[in-house]
Symmetry: C2
Subunit: 325 residues, 2 copies
């Protein structure tokens, strides 16, 4: 009997700035039980971890107990895989370096791995999704920001310090680039995140006078969803916003290919679901900008994980690699 | 008795556009015998391989014979590690896909590995040089072009197709960039190679009127060595050329760090030997441009291998990993 049969489940915990979601997952990627709590409601990390465990333990017991769980995987902002710590996460209430993996291990007696959410998404895609069987691919998460998880030779790239894979912060426009939350200018994230799309919309609407459905929305309230809704109604300016966004993302992907020559790039997030409006310009720009030796070799894929499940599945997938305590 | 004692030597073969150099190397990185032939003198690859073997075999026999050789490593332009082939190398006389590793294995009965010269340089640096003991570093070779070898988790990154690590061809200046030999515009190589430095010299000399020792040299004949010679004589314009070059290279290295968060970046080639004139601006620009989480973490090193030995050592280092045939 192999260990997956003895321990048929893993637990995934995804820590977001607003919500923490968790679930028990089987080897096929089915979430058999799940729950959530508010991340910000617990002033100390001890209270927070206690509350997660209080909610999680009844689910575990209902499915055969702790001995059925192979491990816990945690996806968290600023998560360091090597140390299992969260380090100086600006959007979480607990400051400094938090030894979160160790805290779960102590309370539940289950081995725990932790990394940032984009790396977890990459492992999730490799285990249950679009990158099954691949050894070399890059996951790009297009959300409020742009995150990335890089897999090379079947392993997530953590770098010498545990923080590798910050592709949202490569510089796409030097000198004239947009100010990024990181304090620098021209980062990929300032153009190709959901907020970057909204920013592009405001720039184009201000700088030009042509008609657009987007002019019916107060400029500061425009979201990337509004741009998508306008684009499918045939709004030319909205479609141009996606072309602009896809063009920059394609330029970036072409450079990423020069680095690790991946079999595929997997896109995740709302923007990646905007269909041809975004995928066509990305494809075109990637093809136009990639070095000849790589042309046509790297597949451009969209995540196969359901949005609502992806965070828990990604985190849970980390746990299959864990050794027993 | 371990296999390195039974087979104490490896062979390194470096195939350049002009010369092919080869040597027998011991475990400490000493070249105990070497030789060279002209690469272009053999119209067919069969004649070429025969000639290399004819020159190499007496050296091998003088040092105990084929049974003392652990393996052969070959560094070659457009070398594919997975297949052991050279594929469509523009500067070599043999066209198409050349199964070079297999040809050496057949003739000499010694297992043979092959990759491009920059990847070989990275393995050389990890085995004998500045990156000894490191598992995560990036090698940048600054020569006629800019090459790179990326090591992650102790393994060279070859990508899904064997051609990963073309960091000389990431785009540093979009829209306004210099035309590159690859047909695209703005590649790192067009600025930070030896030819890129000469190009910068010509641009600055044409566009400005200030005095410079470089004006004594016909513009088309200026080399990066001339720029260095002028810089150490206190020539301001020459020093400014290095600042310009170092600034762009530092910007590029900052982006590379966001990708794989290496422990070190190792620079190789004549330009890397230009001392503070180039290293100071690289350091400054890398620090100014790197994402905060990586600041001050990645060492900037210069290769520890002697220029004249580096190509053979790098190629030879590949062979230590080989299994017996």
């Amino acid at each position: 009997m192999n260990s997956n049969m003895e321990k048929p489940y893993v637990v995934g915990i995804d820590i977001g700035g607003t919500n923490t979601v968790f679930g028990i997952v089987d080897a096929r990627g089915t979430i058999i039980a799940n729950g959530s709590i508010k991340t910000q409601a617990y002033p100390t990390v001890e209270e927070y971890v206690d509350e997660v465990c209080k909610n999680l333990l009844p689910l575990i017991i209902a499915h055969g107990g702790v001995e059925k769980i192979k491990g816990i995987g945690v996806g968290a902002p600023n998560g360091n895989y090597y140390s299992g710590t969260i380090e100086f996460a600006p959007n979480l209430p607990w400051k400094g370096i938090i030894p979160l993996a160790a805290m779960f291990e102590e309370r539940l007696g289950i081995p725990t791995a932790l990394t940032n959410d984009a790396n977890a998404a990459a492992v999730g895609e490799m285990t249950y999704g679009a990158a099954r069987g691949m050894k070399d691919f890059i996951m790009i998460t297009l959300g409020t920001g742009v995150g990335s998880g890089i897999v090379i030779n079947g392993q997530v790239v953590y770098g010498h310090d545990g923080f590798a894979g910050e592709l949202g912060h490569v510089i796409m426009r030097r000198g004239t680039g947009r100010l990024c939350g990181c304090g620098r200018h021209g980062c990929l994230e300032t153009y190709c995140s959901a907020t970057g799309v909204a920013r592009t919309a405001r720039e184009l609407l201000t700088g030009r006078t042509d008609k657009s459905l987007l002019r019916e929305i107060p400029a500061e309230e425009i979201t990337s969803k509004d741009v998508y809704d306008a684009a499918i109604k045939g709004d030319k300016l909205a479609q141009e916003i996606f072309e602009f966004t896809g063009n920059i993302l394609g330029e970036a992907l072409a450079d990423f290919i020069a680095f690790s020559s991946p079999e595929a790039i997997v896109l995740f997030g709302g923007l990646a679901k905007s269909g041809d409006y975004i995928m066509n310009p990305i494809h075109k720009s990637m093809d136009e900008n990639v070095l000849a030796v790589f042309k046509g070799k790297t597949k451009l894929l969209v995540s196969e994980l359901k949005d609502s499940d992806a965070a828990v599945l990604g985190a849970s997938a980390l746990a299959w690699e864990l050794k027993d305590l």
